[in-house]
Symmetry: D2
């Protein structure tokens, strides 16, 4: 069971233009610092956060309870000009968990409601025993030599985001999610996706985009540890220890 927390800035859109549009570099700083801070808060309890759209962030939060979530909300309120609401749900797949987590937020009020403030709606928390996170760390083979060092920065970026969208759609079919994490790297919470299915999904994206993808997969009690194991898998593929495009490690 994977536990997902959807984090949404309260009434953010209206705030950014009140009383008049705020300086964009300030907003960009605010958003990336908020993300970094949430990453630290969840990360220090074994979780991991994806910035997603920056005003809607998605965390793998297995092992993190109600009290810690409230503490995080409080800590943001104490240091930022904005507040955050959260919805939490635990399900067999990441797709389902985020669906219910979204509902939890939505039933607390709209993203641009000036009344909603620091909602914490919990559908379910993963207990220690059933807690299980599967994360796939996917990257593009040899991107430095084929793109970064020879194409323009922008053309490389187009390719990287094209791959992202294909991965997002392809993994959704299997009950997974996918996020861009910088460079040519993607992380996919992928509970319940088999090695075969993942291998096929990567091949489909390869075909549609012209790159070649590989994935290390980690399975563990928490998101942070699963990501660690996924990294190790990816390293072994890079090192040529397997010819498979997918390698799974679990605790």
């Amino acid at each position: 069971m994977i536990q997902i927390t959807l984090i949404q800035i309260d009434n953010y859109g209206p705030w950014t233009v009140t009383p008049s549009p705020r300086f964009e570099p300030d907003l960009q700083t605010l958003q990336s610092r908020l993300y970094a801070d949430l990453e630290r808060e969840f990360g220090s309890h074994g979780g991991i956060v994806f910035y997603n759209r920056f005003d809607n962030l998605i965390a793998i939060s297995n092992g993190i309870g109600e009290e810690e979530h409230r503490k995080i909300q409080e800590s943001i309120r104490n240091r930022y000009p904005i507040t955050i609401s959260m919805g939490i749900a635990t399900r067999k797949t990441a797709l389902e968990a985020q669906r219910v987590a979204t509902e939890m937020i939505q039933k607390g009020g709209g993203a641009q409601s000036s009344e909603r403030r620091e909602i914490l709606n919990i559908d379910s928390l993963a207990n220690e025993e059933e807690s299980r996170v599967q994360i796939s760390h996917i990257d593009i083979n040899n991107i430095t030599k084929t793109l970064t060092d020879v194409e323009t920065a922008y053309d490389t970026s187009i390719k990287v985001y094209e791959v992202l969208v294909e991965l997002m759609k392809e993994l959704k079919k299997l009950g997974g999610l996918c996020f861009f994490i910088g460079g040519d790297n993607y992380m996919a919470p992928s509970n319940g996706i088999t090695k075969n299915d993942l291998r096929e999904a990567l091949k489909n994206v390869d075909k549609n985009t012209g790159v070649t993808l590989k994935a290390g997969v980690g399975i563990a009690k928490t998101g942070g540890r699963a990501a660690d194991l996924a990294d190790l898998g990816l390293e072994d593929i890079r090192a040529g220890l397997t010819e498979d495009s997918v390698l799974i490690f679990h605790d």
Copy 2:
């Protein structure tokens, strides 16, 4: 003439896995803090930075000279475990400027070269007189009511990134660039793109993705100021002061 700085972390890929893969939440924090810091450094001199792929960032740097660039490199070296290289170029269109800026970086060495360190290769700087930045701030009409508050967080994200890729490709045809800046917002350095062409480009993306886009456009001496004006344009469209999907302001 728009001046673009391409910023690349030196030898970042290898560093992230040496001696073994570093904890992903730490890397995510590092990347988003680095971006926030660069945003502040460029922002405090009138520029604006887009995170792009986090290890390759793109700044609109009109008005910022060699000395300031060196100072920024030094400041990063003094506070981070990594260093950055930069290429700078000034051209009539953003696409051309980033192309040459990329070449400037590439001729300094590969992104994964352990020898390259803090290269600063300048093709050209915009002088005060010819300096001119056009930025379009694009967003999706009514996303909160049609997506955020009714669809799942992930489905909304797929749509938002799909629109991004379409915008990236569409604007490239016109010599522009496009970046995601959070929420449902995109910023497009768009020197030389006419109101008509931009309106058509948005329509094409609308057609391919099923959303409706609008754009405020700002033209000014610096990126920061152009972004400000673009925000004002967008606000006026939102407020219904025009029925056009594009509104341009310049100093």
Copy 3:
């Protein structure tokens, strides 16, 4: 029993001047960010950190074990150009605990040794049962009206630091420590100091410096919670709920 972690930047002095002196505003940023980050890491596990001298920081770390300490060291190494060593000790008084924690660091090598790196020397950890932190939050009565709003900023600062030194010495006699935490506020880990003794200590400082001090005292299992309770005590004195200069709350 109070558990104290002494945190020391490895070989920091030499680093700041290699290859030539680094830009002071960069170093100031580095130090204050490092402090903020350590505050977050320890804070998210119920601890509290005092910046002390910025390159030697002192944390109340009850409830935080070896594994978390290692994780914090790793997280700093992954995001900063420097590393940190730590010594941990648990004793009946804060003064004793920091004394032994210092020894733990010192036996790992000198502060300017280029060989010492990420030492973690643990004398003792507080177990759940015996864990007990007493913190006094001390401030100056009515400083805004008597100093901040009427004297120069510098004269107010001299007074505030003069009070700090007096408090540091006075509390040491009783087995306590004292740190400046901004404004006119001081925090004193003060396990084992009675209400009477604290009241007397404040009076002695009053006499030597011409201000009037008061203190809220909190007693709890962790440093963070003890600080919370101390704040509540101070608020009640401010609100006139007692005429005593000291008020103690415990869980």
Copy 4:
């Protein structure tokens, strides 16, 4: 002429306890991040900021005009839950400049007034020609071997803060200011203080505290550059290039 900006958080005391006392680690993070951010903003324009009391910060701001100051206020408002007011004054000595800068703030309202918000009161700005900053970087001889590596962390801290208070008082007599900047380092804006007078002042502090102090002095158009030169002076003394306790460099 030295230009000093006094920065004061608006109504900070009341905010920290509204509606109830905020979590101390959050406040410590807020304060140190705010300081780091102000250091970056002023630093990127050649200035330097001292945290002083964290809610009252002092910047050497030569070369930084009204517009930049407003931009900094705006940037803080856009990213923090608090706002800042500023007073600016230019005088022959740092002591005088901060005195007038304090008056500029005070006449805008009290530090705990809920009405005062983002005051920017300028008595005078240094013009390019007359701009001149003298900064002394002072440290304790051989502190690592005599204190850090042999005494307890706390005893070393007591000594370091004792020296601070003595320096603050001694330099005030000569029209200077003094701030602690971490480790065993102090920075003293010291316009108009001669080499002889500074040497005497250090000797007086030596006598009262039992340490031996030395100082590199830098004189330049801006605070950042003066600090750089002061660092170089200190390095040369450390390297034994002079037997004097004071060494001055200027552009």
